[in-house]
Subunit: 112 residues, 2 copies
DNA sequence: ATATATACATAATTTACTTATGCATAAATA
DNA sequence: TATTTATGCATAAGTAAATTATGTATATAT
């Protein structure tokens, strides 16, 4: 992930959401998908992505399945049951964050 | 700042926006204002706030003026000229971040 | 008398990145 | 044919921005 410092903390949410939509994906595929969806706005770096995937796996939110395609390795990740639940949590957290920030930065504030 | 990890990276933007609206504020006042606006959702911690204010001052984005009120110190901060410019930048960065994240997490993606 | 609110500050630690590097194969290009 | 670019993984070192834990001091409420 390069670009704005604001993206810090969002990577896990992005990964979970991708897997929630696509059922099963491998790391490199995620970087390309995000680049495509955000029109190049957000580029996930490998140094951020792979450790994040390992962590989610260690926490039991993801399962892995290794495949060999065109003589190259691919590690396909998919959500576990608790991964599905956590996706819901993370998404509502994000929604909430966005609402809170919009309240804070809307012109002239919302509560005045 | 406690709560969600998503808020990481937002503090500077929040401070600048507060000062952009209120002309001049002191640290403690900011924590109370944010608590009020977000209905307790976001609590800025002192360990995050004061170093952030010092950094913004060091970068020339804020000016300070010390006052004594009720026998207690208050350090009033206000935006410098370049602080005003940076506020604009940070706010459009935030807007952009929110749009990007909404594209990523909107149900079933926006570009499919 | 004691706790809570007001008001600042900093040090130690943690977390989540970036940047840099490494390995390996396939395809495109000079 | 040599070299770069794309595909695909991984990790180590360094950095930024928090959290958590303290510390000081005064005023007010219980």
């Amino acid at each position: 992930m390069s670009n704005s410092k604001l993206y810090k903390g969002s990577l896990t949410t992005i990964i979970l959401k991708l897997l929630n939509e696509s059922d099963k994906m491998y790391g490199y595929e995620m970087t390309q998908k995000v680049k495509q969806i955000t029109k190049g706005e957000l580029n996930i770096t490998e140094g951020a992505l792979y450790p994040a995937l390992h962590k989610l796996e260690a926490e039991g939110l993801l399962d892995v399945e290794v495949q060999k395609v065109d003589n190259r390795l691919r590690k396909y990740y998919k959500l576990t049951e608790s991964g599905v639940k956590e996706t819901t949590n993370k998404l509502s957290e994000l929604e909430n964050y966005i609402k809170t920030m919009q309240a804070l930065v809307s012109p002239k504030f919302s509560l005045e």
